[in-house]
């Protein structure tokens, strides 16, 4: 069987064509494949569709985000739970492009987004969910009653590629995530034709306990070791202005 391990981020994202749809994992910093996003930025593919929780603005610290891809006008369409910053006073490049008509931006409730991706990875073409009933999100969607309650019909999402980040991967592509790293990663792995993973550590097949593997290797096409490929290992999350953080 061919090895799934590739030696560079460039090799990991090779072949991603113009016009591709790409699932990008991560929620805040944990589980975000910054090194693969950076390699995709270098690789040059255009006219992309990005499906993710949000598209962060450029960070300005050398870490490339999907916001950088948007700002470079490489993205034709986004499907996100956040198309605007959570701080309304700060406007992102995505918002400016969206308002100017330079990008198609679709917004969806986060749980619906997650379940649509899970459905795509589970061969379920469509399902009903209560989120969004009675709101703008319901416009144009089939509404149906089960047990006296209203639900919206939502369709599955699949994509050509998924970019993931994990804690440990084995050479067969079995993946383990650490803590909040997990988020969208396991479901996105199932919904893409080609799932590409940056791993903080790559071990031999058989080294991971089968009971602790979160994503079976059968869902994974390419694995790259962050340290061996010379990538950025730690990206710290943003600190809050909260009581305990201040008190330290």
């Amino acid at each position: 069987m061919r090895s799934k391990v590739v030696s560079s981020f460039a090799e990991a994202v090779s072949g991603i064509e113009d016009g591709s749809s790409i699932l990008v994992a991560g929620f805040g910093e944990p589980g975000t494949p910054h090194n693969l996003i950076g390699a995709l930025y270098e690789q040059g593919a255009r006219d992309l569709t990005l499906i993710a929780n949000g598209a962060g603005g450029p960070r300005g610290d050398g870490v490339t985000t999907t916001g950088d891809l948007v700002a470079a006008k490489r993205v034709r369409r986004v499907l996100l739970a956040f198309t605007a910053s959570t701080h309304p006073s700060r406007q992102t490049e995505l918002e400016r492009l969206h308002e100017a008509g330079g990008i198609e931006a679709q917004i969806t409730p986060q749980g619906t987004l997650a379940e649509r991706i899970r459905a795509g990875g589970a061969g379920i073409p469509a399902f009903y969910t209560p989120a969004g009933v009675g709101t703008e999100v319901a416009e144009g969607k089939e509404q149906r009653t089960f047990g006296g309650r209203s639900y919206l019909l939502e369709e599955a999402i699949t994509a050509g590629y998924a970019l993931l980040r994990c804690w440990k991967a084995d050479t067969f592509g079995n993946l383990v995530f650490r803590r909040a790293q997990r988020n969208f990663n396991p479901i996105m792995a199932t919904a893409a034709d080609c799932t590409i993973v940056e791993a903080e550590e790559v071990v031999e097949a058989g080294a991971l306990d089968p009971d602790v593997i979160h994503t079976p290797g059968i869902f994974v096409e390419r694995v790259v070791s962050i340290p061996q490929a010379g990538g950025r290992l730690r990206v710290l999350p943003l600190m809050p202005a909260s009581a305990s953080a201040r008190s330290s």
């Binding site: 929620f27 949000g54 969206h98 409730p109 809050p240």
Partner: protein, 223 residues
Amino acid sequence: MSGAGKRLTRDLMAARVAAEFGDGWIVNLGVGIPTRCSDFVPEDRTVVFHAENGVIGYGRNATIEEATPYVVNGGAQPVLLTPLASIVHHADAFAIIRRGLLDAAVLGAYEGAVNGDFANWRISGRKGGGIGGAMDLATGAKRVFLLLEHTTRDGRPRLLERCSLPLTASGVVTLIMTDLGLFEPTGDSFRLREIAPGFTVDEVQRLTVAPLVPAPDLREVTV
């Protein structure tokens, strides 16, 4: 704008909401002020905090020294895990929400109305927005608490007869905490349960675009 009153701090607002949590409750905290609530759980109670990213059983916010790249809350900010903690993926985190396991969701908001409607995902004149997990939480949680400043930066009231912004959900809000007090939407008015020290009911009413009915046992906000 007001007389002797001083608006409540964000930490005080969060602490007052946290005092509502019952022992054993499962609670989701939204982006912004709500995520502070996990720092203020009364010591006699165990509260299981749930985040959209699948982190279940987290506790207080981490200090800079304690922060790791691995454990964050629904606001993507570093927190600590408790001994009850477990992790699920994003779809399962929302399965928990839709299943009705959350005793409460505490959400930030731009507007709340007497009929229990609220709006927290798109501001006026913008094209995009940030729905995040709010619509799922609003339809799934047993109780929806709003935690917001009583007025906008330029002084416009956020507690209204009817929401003017696109709704997040209809008729679901059970409690609203602002920097002026604690309110319950009752359908045609807000019941004022607690008021910020130094403020009068009239002062708060002037900053509220809906009838305010002081509770018989109205008292000052305390934690």
